[in-house]
């Protein structure tokens, strides 16, 4: 579908139904009464392209592409201000993460959105051996935005790293392989199975 939603699809339940089926807590979206309290409560609200209230209205207006390719829900820091205040008790934070996750799985989430990038680094790092390799994660994070800025950050952080090594808080050897959980194979099997189950649950729209 084009970004310019066809007139025929506007203000229909189609995208709402998709969200209800495939997005965590998506069944709540229809209950929003458009009061705007969430948007007004969000500490990062002004930085969002579309604050939560708007996202909910866009879903109802059928703006599928605009919602799923938006960087907005990636801006949520899970502060829970909106959830606490929503008079309709929508689990807004969870819906934001649910939408982000769904867009990611569909492969249409904004590629360079920093939150998304970091989340991916973290997950890839963790799922490999079942434990987070902090050294690798840290270094990957330094280089997330390119080689030059990576070297700059690494140099800046070097004294801290050396101190940590001295006090045995970190081992440089971790960079080569590093240690993981006992049964990595088992973990991978579990994750694979989980993906299969989730994929089966996912409805086609």
């Amino acid at each position: 579908m084009s970004a310019n939603t066809a007139v025929v699809e506007r203000y229909r339940n189609s995208f709402l139904k998709e969200v209800e089926a495939n997005v965590e807590e998506g069944q709540w979206v229809k209950m929003c009464m458009q009061c705007g309290v969430c948007s007004g409560s969000c500490p990062l609200g002004p930085a969002w392209d579309h604050p939560p209230q708007e996202i909910f209205m866009m879903i109802r207006a059928g703006k599928r592409d605009e919602v799923l390719t938006s960087s907005s829900m990636w801006m949520c820091t899970s502060c829970y201000n909106c959830i606490v205040r929503c008079p309709r008790e929508l689990p807004i934070t969870h819906i934001m993460h649910g939408l982000a996750n769904y867009a990611h799985r569909l492969g249409i989430a904004p590629k360079n959105q920093p939150t998304r990038k970091f989340a991916k680094l973290f997950w890839d790092n963790l799922s490999k051996k079942g434990r987070v390799n902090e050294l690798k994660l840290g270094i990957a994070l330094y280089f997330m935005n390119g080689l030059v800025s990576g070297i700059k950050t690494a140099l800046k952080m070097a004294p801290l790293g050396i101190n940590m090594v001295k006090t045995k808080r970190m081992s440089p050897m971790e960079y080569f392989g590093g240690h993981g959980i006992k049964d990595t194979k088992g973990l991978h099997a579990i994750l694979k199975k989980a993906r299969e189950i989730e994929a089966a649950k996912m409805q086609k729209f």
Binding site: N13, L16, K30, Q34, Q53, M57, A61
Partner: protein, 734 residues
Amino acid sequence: MADVKIGAYICKGCGIGDRLDTKQLAQVATRDAKAHVVREHDFLCNADGVKMIQNDIDSEGVNRVAICACSRRAKTEAFRFEGVAMTRANLREGVIWVRPATDEAQETTQEMADDYIRMAVTETKFMTLPQGSEKATYNRHILVVGGGISGMTAAVEAAKTGYPVILIEKTGTLGGSAGKAWRRIPQKAPYANPEDTGVAALIKAIEGNSQIKVHLNSTLTKTSGAPGRFAVDITTESGSTTTENVGAIIQASGYTEYDASKLTEFSYGKAKNVVTQAELDAMAKAANGAPLKNKDGKEIKSVAFVQCAGQRSTKEGHLNYCSGHCCLDSVKQAMYFKDANPAIDTNIIYTDLRTPGAGGEDFYRSGQNKGVTFTKGQVNEVTTDGTVKFKDLILNEDTEEKADLVVLATGMVPNSGVDIEVVKQDEPGQWKSNNESVLNLDYRQGKDIPLLKQGFNDSHFICFPYETRRTGIYTCGPVRRPMDMEQAMEDATGAALKAIQAVENAGQGRAAHPRSGDLSFPSFRREGCTQCKRCTVECPFGAIDEDEQRFPVFNEARCRRCGTCMGACPVRVISFENYSVDTVGQQLKNIDIPDEFSEKPRILVLACENDAYPALDMAAMRKIEYSAFARVIPVRCLGSVNTIWLTDALNSGYDGVVLMGCQKGDNYQCHFVKGSEMAHYRMSKVNDTLTTLNLETERVATYEVAITDIERAPQLINDMAATVEKVGMSPFKF
């Protein structure tokens, strides 16, 4: 008439005895005011004090009682004596509580109290005990005009209470607008689904009730008389007329749906798939549960609801009010579709969603739960192919939606009869009935109940919503204000109770609200009357007719005892037994007016007894002080103030006059609706009087005072004291 024997009773309780020289007050009562029996008592309102007064009434022949104690609004239970005319001198709230307890203030405070004693005793001299009207008639029949859900509910409720009902309906069936609907907004928890309208059950209840007589295809072609003795002509379509006598009338003439063909921007009438809310309900009723189809026979898969179509808009020809029921009715109608088939898309486009009633919010939520889309938007156009063009107010963009069916939430236009300001009443002797009129009253002031804003029948909106400006005639349902079925049913029940009350009051010659129970009524001295018609025109309740010789004819059962007629009469021939030009005029003339050089001015305050006087009492409770030179006289309504009182006051040397009435205009708070307005109008001409007397115009000030103006009311008095100080003492002190 028995000899006048006045008893004046001076209380020493509540600090009155400490602050005032009650011996002197007793002397004033005896010597100056000539009361026949004068007694002091330590606690007049206790059993002993009350017994003392009752004894005098029983064995001393006292028939006028002046209670010189607290405000007339306090201790009303204790001071209630049968068979005597009574008044109060307000020594507590009117004197000691508004004056400082200092030595310097003592002299003027005592003078204030002395004057209130003179005033009270003088007033009783000119009062007689109201005897009630000889014309009082008891008729338990209640006429209900209109067989819709309001009218039917009123009929059933009145009949349940044992009052026989005559119900007339213009069309051939009972039910009205509600009868054409498929379902109604739910009235019971969990407020989740549309409910049966209840109309069929009501019709059944009426048909099975021998107390209710139904006239179908009938209209009212004449209403004359007064509460307790209305005579109504009921005429059928074929022209045959029967006359019935009834005690009270309930007008439940309902509403007509706004004419959607005026909404050309929404293609109503041009596009086959654009309907009004009422039409959709009729379609649903006809389908009786089967899937709804468009006029062209096609199945409906998407519906757009356009809220506030031609409503809440100041555009020419639109209704600029909210009809109150339409938002929830759209939710209900969207459910007609969603409940039948959740795959049908329904979108309610609103600017402000309004969900009145206890269950309103729950019903809205239930709609959301069922997948009804709610869009905050402003619809600008509906094209002939059913495309709804609107501005999404959340996403802030112009957009459009194509729908198989577009429903316009058009508003309610009240069936309130003719506008009596426009359609003047026929001259006496030439009365004809008018097809446009609902009631066809033969009252001098016009055929229907006066209108307020927007063409709804005027009822006392802020304080007594059932009371119209025609006593014994109560409006209910959307003819009074826009409302949904639940509100209309509740409204109708209330109106039925008011009608019963009116019947009972009329039977005993007692006034209806707000002077409920008052037996006094205005009478006029025919010989003095100049047939000027001021009283007929100014009576806010249309109580006064005219005979063939153009003399006023008072209908006391229609009268609310405001005294506006008394205030209006230029030759002062109208009076009540216990309230007259004299009862007030003599009070103000019988106070002590110190000479010009005494530096003791006198300010007359005429305060409406409903709002301004209580405000002053409350100020007193808070010990807010005001000038010792003020003399306050409560009046039934500012409308009852006759300009002679002002002239008399100014001529006898008062230095200033303050008049306090209620808010007037469309948002009136005046208990008598128009009284305050009439008074303000009258007072606007008082400047001439002042100029003739060569007095400064600032000496008379007229204000609108609310019952909550607790600080402002005393301030207004003090302002006048300051004005007098500025312009100087009146030269008219003799």
